[in-house]
């Protein structure tokens, strides 16, 4: 190994003058835009890890179970994404909460943990989240991850907002990014469109967070 390196290093010594050159762009994307030089140091601490395939960080486990003792709610949780129409995908049964898997993971502070469930469905009738609007600030909500570790939250706010005005950006990309957000529907029901006019949203912070 070392012997192999001897040749290139010696060769390099000849061109060690710090002549700057633009590094060739290997990507197909054009790099033509002229951008101003930046002279400040970029960072003092940079995270470094092994790039070996076996060392690729595994995503933290998603939530598996939701418990709200004060409302006698205990639900299983399933990961969901975006529905084809651009709305949040939901589990068809109101008994199961959907966890938005492109958001945060419980306990990881990598984004808000968003859980949504139908307030009702044709088979079950009213689901557990129909009780959400009765929750009180300070109530405990426990989300248990797939690996069995529980994360406890305390409710900080409850809102019922018309869907025309609801700030979904706060829900999905809000700051601080470690909140638990529970979403369901409420308000008047538009029988022609088959949807409720409001979102009921419960905000909670991890225990110990401020």
């Amino acid at each position: 190994m070392r012997a192999w390196w001897a040749v290139p290093i010696l060769a390099l010594a000849a061109c060690s003058a710090a002549t700057e050159q633009a590094v060739p762009s290997a990507s197909s994307s054009a790099m033509g835009a002229i951008v101003a030089p930046v002279t400040a140091p970029v960072a003092s601490v940079v995270e470094v890890r092994s790039s070996a395939p076996e060392d690729l960080p595994k995503p933290p486990p998603g939530p598996a179970k939701l418990s709200i003792p004060s409302l006698d709610i205990s639900m299983t949780i399933r990961g969901v994404g975006n529905a084809p129409d651009g709305t949040m995908e939901l589990v068809s049964s109101s008994l199961v909460a959907g966890w938005y898997r492109f958001g945060g993971h419980p306990g990881a502070s990598d984004g808000n943990v968003v859980l949504a469930a139908h307030v009702d469905d044709a088979k079950v009738g009213l689901g557990p989240f129909a009780k959400l609007r009765d929750i009180t600030p300070g109530a405990t909500v426990v989300v248990t991850s797939g690996d069995g570790s529980p994360v406890s939250y305390q409710v900080t706010a409850i809102e019922q907002t018309n869907k025309d005005r609801v700030e979904l950006a706060d829900v999905f990309a809000g700051s601080p990014s470690e909140m638990l957000v529970l979403i369901t529907c409420g308000g008047r029901f538009d029988r022609d469109a088959r949807h409720y006019e409001d979102n009921v949203i419960v905000w909670a912070l991890p225990d110990g967070a401020s």
Binding site: S92, R101, A169
Partner: protein, 275 residues
């Protein structure tokens, strides 16, 4: 069947909800930069704009991502015991970084085995629902290669320092690199299982040297987030049982019961088709 059901329930709401802003894969107005060390056998120090940024950066190490202001950054690689960046191992090079983009700078060997550096732009455009992105980059001192997915050539004749990419259904694939025209993996370059996920670009590098004795070829992997549209609405209910509307007429109730049956039937179909 399923999408039809959902659209039927939410079409009106979508009109009202407006357009949600996309969730960006990098912080707005910033550039993400990762750095991969793909030169075998040499630990280096990395200076950025004259300041020591990565101390004792070892082969196979991946640093970052750093969230940087857009601009041009000057990078120098020195021996790991250098006092400053006055004697770089390869000429200092400039990285022009634009806002809202993701990059990986790779120090690697060219096809002939000489150290060099390349700046790759990571594709962080949105992936379709149910698909993840696979990018493969040839940064090894090796001839043209084919990229094998599940044993068959998925990309052919890829040369240093080129990249190939594709959006594929999410799942786990067996990936390997073979000499062009061969389906036998090159020792050190797989097969390895890689998992593609929605919202992610999985980037695989073939690095090292085929001509060193012994060969130093290896695979490196990196994931970057791709852009993701935030949901435009959260439509959680179709029956009106929790509504504030008050009582409804018996004619309405009959209509609701009929709709409920339709919805229940749709639900059964959904359950079957999802299996």
């Amino acid at each position: 069947m399923r999408s039809t059901l959902i659209v039927g329930a939410t079409a009106g709401a979508l009109l009202a909800a407006g357009v949600a802003a996309p969730a960006l894969a990098v912080a707005p107005g910033k550039a993400d930069l990762s750095v991969l060390h793909g030169i075998p056998g040499l630990t280096v120090d990395v200076y950025v704009n004259g300041a020591l940024t990565l101390d004792d950066f070892a082969p196979g190490d991946l640093a970052g991502p750093l969230s940087l202001d857009p601009g041009t950054y000057t990078v120098a690689l020195t021996a790991s015991d250098a006092a400053d960046d006055s004697a770089p191992l390869i000429p200092a090079f400039d990285l022009p970084l634009a806002a809202d983009m993701s990059y990986t700078a790779v120090a690697h060997l060219d096809a002939a085995g000489d150290p060099t550096a390349s700046l790759f732009t990571n594709d962080i455009s949105e992936t379709a629902s149910g698909e993840g992105r696979l990018t493969v980059r040839h940064v090894a001192a090796a001839p043209a290669v084919d990229i094998l997915a599940n044993g068959a050539a998925a990309f052919t004749n890829v040369e240093n320092p080129d990249e190939v990419k594709a959006d594929l259904p999410v799942g786990t694939y067996s990936a390997a690199v073979a000499l062009a025209g061969s389906t036998t993996p090159i020792p050190g370059l797989g097969p390895v299982d890689v998992t593609l996920a929605e919202g992610k670009n999985l980037i695989v590098y073939a690095w090292g040297s085929a001509t060193a004795d012994p060969a130093t070829l290896a695979l490196a992997v990196q994931t970057v987030d791709t852009a993701m549209e935030m949901p435009a609405a959260v439509e959680t209910g179709t029956q009106g049982l929790a509504a504030d509307n008050g009582s409804t007429s018996s004619a309405m109730l009959i209509a609701i019961a009929g709709l409920a049956l339709v919805a229940a039937g749709g639900g059964l179909v959904v359950a079957r088709s999802r299996r």
